[in-house]
Symmetry: D2
Subunit: 338 residues, 4 copies
């Protein structure tokens, strides 16, 4: 049983079925009937008028979002362990044409509003220094922690006060919302988020994430993003197969059902590994202390996962699991401590 | 019955089946077993050692190929109606960081070697002028014409003489090879092509083309391209679904079978529309003279296609058709002239 | 006596004196008293409120102007022999991050409004095609022809109708205005020009041109340009030496006096070479038919100039000459024809 | 008496004289006789064959150097307070097309070899992470500290071991060499430096720094840099005025004489302010603890300088001073402590 990554998991059956249903002639690119439904579907989901585009990958979604918010000579405040800093081979620098990532430390890979304010105040307002133009956070964070509505809103207030755009990398947005039990609008537009990378692939999709634009500038930014999407080589000829996947996720609540299943599996493991958790478990990732011997023992029993530096491991649960199905690993974890 | 575009067509069943067979846990990105087979599959197909990467779209494939061949201050010799010039919203300029497209005229959207040589000789070898660094051609061309092995080789010789890279946009490579009846190596590496964008989506695929690297520098360029693929946001988390499609195309000849079907359909229509063809029909596209009244009449009978400027139309056939299935349109075209 | 280029000429004494007068301690970059006078000096010169920045070179001025007017996915309509196309090694593509130069033919290297309109109308308004966002013309043109106020205004009207920015490369702006005898505002802001590269170096300066912004968006664009100037490595530590040169040019009419001298020299030569002129002589450049033997004969008498392809030559006069001082060449030219 | 910055100082007389001597007709751009002498002059200075180009500014020199060493998807290891990080508005990101600056802490704004090695070892060798491709250090550092030959060589060894390029920002290279008393080759090519930004402007020049290339790849990199220089808008029409300045600096030792004068002035102040120095004084900058009251007192006596955060100040000496001429400030500093 693998706990490598939610990327390693198959596609969920509802998404497969949606792709099959889109398998008939229609207009190319995003001229088809499925793509046309995206704005409406996300407006319903978020309870406000939004613009939404399908985008190939999370890296592309994040980078295009930042290109809409930050000029080449600007900077993006973010966490030093953010995916955009650590795992995208400089893609944000590519799409923004060289904007700077202004990386800050912060507990649990979360940005603290005071730290952001302090960083902003240290920037001289002259042409020699890179001006911050956006804030980007990850929901759930790279250590699986969710920002509460209040925490997002506090960062949204900093963004507003300083005239910055506010982007949310929601590769595991569904897991965060499932954990928080809030309305998805509470941690996005109501809290000041301008653009959300809404993750689907880790949550049961095959190919394609959504980029969701909120607020007064949504329309203009989405039009700009559509240019970047084409220019970046991301305007698929047969976009309907992406749109159909995303609609399957959001039109009837599949995104939350899948996330709840993955979260429940993570909670079951967390309960078993309580004593060795490196971070609280809120979404579908566990970071645990684990000696080399323990890791080998687990692998010997057929459980696969990534080492996380020395003496630690990362376990990721996914939509195809639940509390019951991960009991074998839960028991194995308990046995380690016994 | 639509003749809009090969993009509007569904995915062919063999490709769908291949995606279903890849629908099980495996490593993310391109660490899976299907992606690992690409180099071998294309080496077999072309009869020489190649490197191959799956890439999201034709635009991305072309742009990344050019980024491997041309520095930001360089230029790419191409036809003025090439897809990279006309239909990619400047994507090559994005991936190459500003390289110039040096567009030339040419019959049937094909580049003539003498025209290329003349253009090259007009460039002063100083730092004020953009130096040409690559040639890019489209096989089949934007007007559906195939470059013969000899024609490709003549351009390859120009490239070699001037130290230029040589890229082929093969969005309809299969149709060209099916028409020419040659070995795929005859119009690529044996003729001097360095990098080929090998099209799958127009030929029955869903998402994903292949970028194929030939020659001594194949390995280094493919490694570079893998960086651009990630940096461009094109490294899919679940790349196995792309790899499986491409393998289904090339491992047992599906690419040629599909292309032959589309070409046969095009020939059937060409025979019916002989008197009004604007270009010879060699691949799966027809460009025909058609008055507004004639176009309306055809549409009234349920045939859809694009107008091509005034008094002309473009008809594209596809893998799901053949000579028999397009008879209704062939008859309608004949009737127009009667 | 050289007629190579106005670049080959020394610096005029008034400019040298101005640099000497700036040779004392002051604030760095553009915080000095000379730089502070630029906005006022150009506002006086043009009879409207302008913003003005010193910029290293004409290539930098042109490129930064275009970066202020055109997004990376946009295009700039220009003449196919424009300096930005032919002689800047792709610098506009660098500063605009990949915008396309949409080059048009046109008599005397001048753009014709109808040709521009026709080009604009051929662009499909979808994301696949590069949208035009700016027009750029050269005053005087690359063949030494001046656009009249009416000609500039006609292009300005096209720009306004299509929502495009309008840039003028004024490397030899002074020569054009001297020839036209109009107010400098008549061929710039009154005719719709948004940004002017105001040339100084060819007209007697040492280092530094001015970038002049007109209209409602002048302030915002100048602020943006100041960012590009720094980011492009053009914010000189001791900017006062550039500002002083430019002020010397514009504050008391030196720019026009110098241009008139150069133009008078050109007219004297034009009168002598009337029969073999390839273009009318309006500014300070002559393009003449000249056999290899004739060229050798002139060089043998000590006159230097550039060949202009086969059987032709380019002669450039400069600020340090006048009708009298070029009589030796005028006579030599007359003698050739005798 | 100002101690703001070495940028605020006039041009030294020898440089002015050199510019006057270049004030006669010659070929444009870098085709003149002065530009032609640069390679030789720097080869003599460094005791090895070098290539050298004049470049507009230090920011441009640094950025172009990094563009020669680091691809767009790569990273540059540097100090977190380096000029390239803090004061260039992202210019390195512009010229490298988005490369990442990998900023490290370090005492006195100097990089420590072990810290660099540790950072390098933390980078996973996959396409998700940005690979380091260059190291950049500042000599003297942003806090006025000189790297000894041994210290540079230790970093050079790291660069060599990891296949990285090695760049030195020598805005105050002369001051560092004057302090160290070593041969300029000892802290550059003999220690593994590939490209040096050789500062002239802070040391008495007007406009123009030199970019100096060492080693096997010097010629290829200089050719590449010449492209960037043009493409960046830095190829001045009258480059001879820059070349003449640089030659005046290096051909007869002016660079060292000027630096020694500035350093002597700094030492005289350091002796007076010994108790409140924040960093050892090695070049021509002093960072001292200074209360608001003390700062006001000094300014009241006519001494100008920058505040350096709260309770501190930066004083910069320059070529036009020496130990004697700064005695008034030295005494004022001593008086503060009395």
């Amino acid at each position: 049983m693998h706990f490598f990554s939610d990327n390693a998991t198959p596609v969920c059956p509802e998404v497969m079925a949606a792709m099959a249903s889109a398998d008939r002639p229609d207009h190319g690119y995003d001229g088809d009937q499925w793509s046309a439904r995206l704005n409406g579907a996300f407006s319903d989901l978020f309870g406000t008028e939004t613009q939404a585009l399908w985008i190939a990958t999370g890296t592309a979604a994040n980078s295009i979002a930042l290109a809409c918010l930050c000029p080449p000579y600007g900077g993006v405040i973010c966490h030093e362990e953010a995916h955009i800093v650590v795992d995208e081979c400089g893609a944000p620098g590519f799409y923004t044409h060289g904007a700077s990532l202004m990386a800050l430390p912060g507990e649990g890979a979360k940005l603290a509003p005071e730290a952001v304010r302090e960083r902003l105040e240290a920037i001289r307002p002259d042409v020699h220094q890179v001006p911050a133009r956006a804030i980007s956070i990850t929901q759930a964070s790279e250590y699986g922690l969710a920002y509460t509505p209040g925490e997002v809103a506090a960062l949204g207030a900093v963004a507003r006060d300083h005239g910055l755009g506010f982007h949310m990398d929601g590769a595991r947005f569904a897991n965060a919302v499932a954990y928080l039990g809030c309305h998805p609008g509470d941690v996005t537009w109501r809290a000041g988020v301008d653009i959300l990378s809404f993750g689907c692939v880790k949550n049961g999709g095959m190919i394609g994430e959504a980029l969701v634009f909120f607020g007064d500038q949504a329309r203009a930014r989405a039009a700009e993003a559509a240019r970047w999407r084409k220019r970046g080589g991301h305007l698929f000829s047969k976009g309907r197969y992406l749109a159909a996947q995303i609609l399957a996720m959001v039109e009837d609540g599949l995104w939350l059902r899948n996330a709840r299943a993955a979260n429940a599996a993570a909670q079951a493991l967390a309960a078993a590994a309580e004593a060795c958790l490196l971070h609280p478990v809120e979404a579908n990732e566990l970071f645990i202390r684990l000696t080399g011997g323990e890791a080998a023992a687990l692998r010997g029993q057929g459980f696969d996962f990534y080492d996380w530096g020395e003496g630690a491991a990362r376990l990721v649960t996914n939509w195809s699991q639940d509390a019951a199905s991960v009991q074998p690993l839960a028991e194995a974890l308990r046995a380690l401590r016994a």
